[in-house]
């Protein structure tokens, strides 16, 4: 059993095998992700009851929370991949880290923007300078930008991999800070609703669409990540025989 796993992992890490397998998996991730997002959107907008305090404004949660979760998830995936790439010198891991960065940046932007839109009517402000939760999430957006510009600055791929991996690992300290910021400091932002002692503090009819959105976003992100890693692998292996066979074989 263990040996089979090991062989599977080794095969997965081989670029041509990954490239082909990912192409087969992407449509499944897209379809299942989009179905769940469609369910979450419709149920969240029209079937979940309005909140006792926030009325219909609370429905922004169905975009904001999945986006914020993915922004941190993408960063964690990058940090783990960067670590694996540095320690085991695995090129595919560096490709994953490089592919996840623009996606993480997009979802961080979405979390910040929808948080701002939510904050205006409820808290009374678009943005609160110096709030720990808001500031640490904004810093993550800059970490993503810093990572991408650092990569763009270094021509040699293996050097870019190493330098950017160090940056992302140093910045990883920000992820737990984002999560615990609302507990450690006085923040305008409320505490966690889902991940807390005593279970989620949200009604079932409101919870299910949210879980659907979170899972749907995750699958959708999976499809995007696989698609981006494929492009990254193709570029890195551009001088290899299998890429030559793949491209010329098809057009011949």
């Amino acid at each position: 059993m263990f040996r089979h796993m090991w062989i599977f992992l080794h095969k997965l890490a081989s670029p041509p095998h990954f490239y082909g397998l990912a192409a087969k998996m992407i449509p499944w991730f897209y379809v299942s992700g989009l179905l769940l997002i469609a369910y979450g959107t419709i149920a969240g907008l029209f079937y979940a009851p309005a909140d006792y305090q926030q009325g219909d404004a609370f429905r922004i949660i169905y975009v904001h929370v999945p986006a914020a979760y993915l922004s941190m998830m993408a960063y964690s995936i990058m940090a783990i991949s960067a670590g694996i790439g540095l320690i085991w010198r695995m090129k595919l891991a560096h490709a994953v880290a490089a592919a996840a960065a623009p996606l993480g940046a997009w979802f961080t932007f979405l979390a910040l923007a929808t948080g701002s839109i939510w904050g205006r009517p409820m808290w009374g402000t678009w943005w609160e300078w110096g709030d720990p939760r808001l500031t640490s999430e904004l810093i993550m957006l800059f970490l993503y930008f810093g990572y991408m510009s650092l990569r763009a600055a270094i021509d040699e791929t293996s050097k870019a991999d190493k330098a950017s991996a160090v940056l992302i690992l140093v910045g990883a300290v920000n992820v737990p800070i984002i999560h615990f910021s609302v507990e450690w400091w006085s923040s305008l932002h409320q505490g966690p609703t889902l991940v807390r002692e005593g279970g989620p503090a949200i009604e079932t009819a409101m919870l299910y669409p949210l879980l659907g959105m979170i899972l749907g976003f995750t699958l959708f992100f999976g499809a995007l990540l696989l698609a981006r890693v494929r492009a990254e692998v193709l570029h890195r292996e551009r001088r290899s025989r299998w890429v030559r066979n793949l491209i010329l074989g098809e057009s011949a």
Partner: protein, 54 residues
């Protein structure tokens, strides 16, 4: 129906959030696909140039 779409008095906030979500989703898909296409075409033209040179 109109009442459901109005979202109390928060229609503008709720709908702009969901609109932004769809814009970001579409942007992500378009970017990922065009990046793969770009890499593929780059390599293809380079390989063809190499082959015709020999």
């Amino acid at each position: 129906m109109m009442e459901m779409l109005a979202m109390g008095k928060y229609g503008a906030y709720v709908w702009s959030s969901f609109g932004l979500m769809f814009i970001v989703m579409i942007a992500c898909v378009v970017q990922a696909r065009s990046r793969h296409r770009k890499m593929y075409q780059q390599i293809e033209s380079r390989l063809k140039a190499m082959d015709s040179a020999t």
